[in-house]
């Protein structure tokens, strides 16, 4: 193999990589937050009494989970622009990511809600708590505790999936990589460097979620049960 690896020209672009990373982080953070709220509300909708809401949430979840993110992005960004609703690429990226992760979060939270023992729901009802009060005070925290590993894994997958938004030129890390490799002609080295950035981000996210778990689950912190 006569190829000589050369990283210097690629690493010279480190400010650009950092900028791209920053947008990746922002997209991931916002999409995680909003997606979690959307997914939780949808999970509640799917378990509720209103039939049409149950069907709507179910439809939303199945459509999103059975189509690729790339197609969802194209449809949203190019499709809406063509019918008179153009928008900034970053905004479109965020909206699609929220809708996408919301569907997966719905199923995770649904499993979490279902795992709460029905006896506790009975006890809460018999104490006179209303349905929203029961969800907020009795169901939500134990459900989240139960599915926390699945939730955090899903959000890390979301961060990795932000790379796909490079296809509509959102200026996140992968888009920066595409630009850098076209300028340095060192494609392999560029993507290797960027892979390293993503690995660091994955690790940092998992660490962050672990710390967050200690904060929002005081029982775990006090009793020392691993999460």
């Amino acid at each position: 193999m006569s190829y000589k690896f050369e990283f210097a020209s690629v690493l010279a672009f480190w400010p650009d990589f950092l900028h791209g990373t920053w947008l990746t982080v922002q997209l991931s953070f916002l999409a995680t937050l909003l997606g979690f709220v959307l997914g939780t509300l949808c999970a509640i909708g799917r378990r509720g009494h209103i039939a049409w809401l149950r069907r709507l949430c179910g439809f939303y979840v199945e459509v999103i989970r059975n189509t690729p993110l790339l197609v969802q992005i194209f449809l949203f960004y190019f499709g809406l622009a063509s019918v008179g609703l153009p928008m900034h690429a970053t905004v479109a990226a965020l909206v699609v990511l929220v809708i996408n992760v919301g569907a997966y979060t719905t199923e995770i939270m649904r499993a979490g809600f279902d795992s709460v023992h029905p006896g506790q729901l009975e006890a809460a009802e018999c104490l006179g708590l209303s349905r929203p009060q029961i969800y907020w005070n009795v169901v939500l925290q134990p459900a989240m505790e139960r599915v926390y590993p699945a939730l955090t894994s899903q959000f890390v997958l979301l961060m990795l999936a932000t790379s796909i938004t490079s296809q509509i030129s959102a200026e996140e890390l992968t888009a920066v990589a595409n630009r850098v490799q076209s300028m340095t002609f060192r494609a392999f080295e560029t993507y290797l460097v960027v892979a390293a950035f993503y690995l660091v981000l994955s690790f940092a996210m998992r660490l962050g979620f672990w710390l967050l778990g200690l904060v929002i689950f005081p029982r775990r912190r006090q009793l020392g049960t691993a999460l």
């Binding site: 989970r65 059975n66 197609v71 809406l80 894994s153 392999f188 690995l199 994955s202």
Partner: protein, 222 residues
């Protein structure tokens, strides 16, 4: 453009869908073979082997598939090999699938009750006999629902092969859209075709789960 979306376009899309299935098969078969090695490596007695395989899994699972595609595409050309998009995409999908399938199957192998491992040992089976005659058949049952669930992920993720130029369904759709400039129509049809490929698999995975009454496993993905 005075072209309307017609039967020819649909046939072109269906052709792309066939390639989607083809690439999915390559990814699944290759990923399964390599994934099985990964699973075995993760439960091997040697600590070095276990650690090394775990590093491999962490590396692959911590990198976006799109980046893996680029690395395969440019890496193969550096290595002086023929760089057809199919080969590059196939390699990337294989590596990607091997890490996730390996973890799924490791979990399944470890779910087989300890008592089975011990019983097989007491019956004087060799390590490989124990594995292949006793443990793997039982693990297969447990592994089937999440494996089928991951197959859905594979089919969807073949769409990324379009970025390295492989003409599967997503690329076919882009090509047609570039000719017709009807993104809403073309991409909607594309979505419907993907849905038609993936939804039956999702239903099957769900049915398998219900039948096996394994604890509900929620598929993650994008």
């Amino acid at each position: 453009m005075n072209n309307e979306f017609n039967a020819n376009h649909l046939i072109y899309l269906l052709h792309g869908a066939a390639w989607t299935l083809g690439l999915s098969a390559v990814g699944f078969v290759g990923g399964s073979l390599l994934g099985f090695v990964v699973a075995l490596g993760r439960i091997a007695p040697s600590r070095w082997l276990r650690g090394g395989v775990m590093v491999y899994v962490q590396l692959v699972q911590g990198t976006p598939l799109l980046i893996l595609m680029f690395l395969a595409y440019f890496g193969l050309s550096i290595a002086g090999l023929d760089v057809s998009p199919l080969v590059a995409a196939g390699l990337a999908m294989t590596v990607y699938a091997s890490a996730y399938l390996g973890e799924i199957w490791r979990g399944s192998l470890q779910s087989v009750p300890r008592t089975q491992w011990e019983a097989a040992e007491c019956l004087s089976f060799s390590a490989s006999q124990r594995l292949f005659l006793i443990i793997v058949p039982q693990a297969l049952r447990i592994a089937t629902p999440p494996t089928v669930g991951f197959l859905v992920q594979i089919v969807k993720n073949t769409s990324l092969a379009s970025v390295v130029g492989f003409i599967e369904l997503a690329r076919a759709g882009q090509v047609i859209n570039n000719a017709l400039f009807e993104p809403f129509l073309v991409f909607s049809i594309m979505a419907v075709l993907y849905f038609a490929l993936c939804y039956p698999l999702s239903l099957w995975a769900h049915a398998l789960e219900t039948r096996l009454q394994v604890g509900r496993r929620v598929p993650l993905g994008t």
